[in-house]
Symmetry: C2
Subunit: 305 residues, 2 copies
């Protein structure tokens, strides 16, 4: 089934210890869409300005991303300038130019309203709330957020969270949102506010899920060729939610498998700047890397006495 | 088979957000010995002063720890005073009183010289080197070290590493030792200096192993009741190396299983101050927690096309 994503499409200028990329295509919904498109059709709701290249939109269409919900308006596309040091788990924002994103009001096309799976990428929780008002009973609502909204719009975020099944968030944000330094207790607290499934992104350490009372932890693959972590979290969400939408089952074993696909997509995403690596990726490469994750995490049971 | 450990036995004064413990028994070789004793007999080489309680030595003997190599000398036992904030991965040393440890010269008793497995806990690399000169051809030499020696005695440490099979080290130290911020490349660099197996401790994120060209990653169990991370790394090493000494096989599958035992011991160790939790631990509790790690890390293969 299709997955509906609402979020940003942007130009990123990124500096890492391994190089720089200037005004390359990025944005949460963009990374998400490309990653998810390897598993299922995607419906994209976002806004771009007059300066956004038609060639990238053509690429998205070629990957099965429906752009009926993409607004193109007068003005400049959202721009983000960021920098990473040797600690790739933390980006430093140098500059944000909201441009056309400042007035973004997500409008869900009629044809998208029956979407079974919805991913609300990291935008204002009031807009996330508004999107949920425009869709009919999705089977799964997943949401990402960030420290900016946790600190700035806590009440609005809490209200939106009460309608969410699956929250994707990083570990520092989990602690901040719950106001609790112990991660396990923080996760339990947040579950009490709505989301029965929490997926906690930990960058180079992998991802952790709390599903009901059950924990799952998946390490990240150690990579020698990491270039740029921008979009890793959205690529992870795209692989995870895209796979779930493709099978339309949400049991624990299926979500675990979906997280492996998410981690596979993130591991490719960081190997190049922007969407470069995802743009050339093939299904056989995804299968090979899934097997690498299996090998990475595999161990035997205790010996029989 | 027996495992020989050389390291510190100390009094720790520790403050965490959850409480304080004053002059409680600690020290790398102490944590290691108790954790390893659940799997195999232990031979302990260390030094204590006149003030060290006989009752704790009696406890060690009751756990199968041979104390022939424990020197008791005039003066006060090594003391460490440390403090943790909410980030349990980093201890702040408030005070170190070396006391009798300042003049520690490890003397390996004749009966210990045939030890098949040797663990050199975190002490001066010159002393670690000296110990290796006193033992006959062990089947496995494992070593721990820290930033203090990496910065202060790099040449000596490099020389000792050339005689080591298995290095246990944390991730920041791995980067520091190799002078390389990419962890995967750093691990490969260090392997070139001697140790064919690197086990990288990552605190609440678990542990990572590079064995030859193969990676294994084991997440840590999310725990709601963490009290004190002191000794977690040594408890991990004790469970890991103790299990290896008990089976005397060093193939990849066996080391993976050993790391699960190590993680089990660390997960218990942090649930109370000092050695309190390890002192009351039972074999059935270890089995149950091993199964929790299996459940934590388990996922299915890719679906068949």
């Amino acid at each position: 089934m299709s997955v509906l994503v609402v979020g940003s499409v942007a130009f990123d200028t990124v500096t890492t210890p391994f190089g720089q990329a200037t005004e390359v295509v990025g944005g949460s919904a963009n990374y998400f869409s490309v990653a998810a498109s390897f598993f299922t059709p995607v419906r994209l709701v976002a806004v771009v300005g007059e300066d956004f290249p038609e060639s990238h939109l053509e690429f998205l269409r070629s990957r099965g991303v429906d752009l009926q919900g993409l607004q193109r308006v007068g003005g400049k596309t959202f721009r983000w300038v960021g920098r990473y040091g040797h600690d790739f788990n933390e980006a430093r924002t140098v500059e944000t130019q909201l441009n056309v994103f400042a007035a973004f009001a997500p409008k869900i096309p009629e044809a998208y309203r029956d979407s079974d799976v919805v991913f609300l990428a990291n935008i204002d929780p009031d807009l996330q709330q508004d999107v949920l008002g425009q869709v009919k009973r999705p089977a799964l609502v997943a949401l990402d957020t960030m420290n900016y909204w946790i600190a700035g719009k806590p009440a609005s975020l809490r209200k939106t969270l009460s309608q969410v099944d699956l929250l994707v968030i990083n570990d520092a944000e989990t602690r901040q949102l719950a106001g609790e330094s112990n991660l396990a207790r923080a996760a339990r607290t947040i579950q009490g506010w709505g989301p029965r499934i929490l997926i906690i992104k930990r960058g180079e350490y992998g991802a952790l899920m709390r599903n009901g009372q059950d924990w799952f932890a998946l390490p990240a693959l150690p990579l020698e060729g990491v270039q740029d972590p921008t979009g890793a979290g959205d690529s992870f969400a795209g692989g995870t939610i895209g796979y779930l939408a493709s099978v339309m089952r949400f049991d624990d074993a299926t979500i675990r498998r979906a997280m492996v696909y998410g981690s596979v997509m993130a591991s490719f995403s960081v190997e190049a700047f922007s969407l470069e690596r995802l743009c050339t990726l093939t299904a056989p490469e995804i299968r090979v890397r899934y097997r690498q994750f299996q090998r990475l995490a595999q161990f035997d049971g205790p010996p029989e006495a």
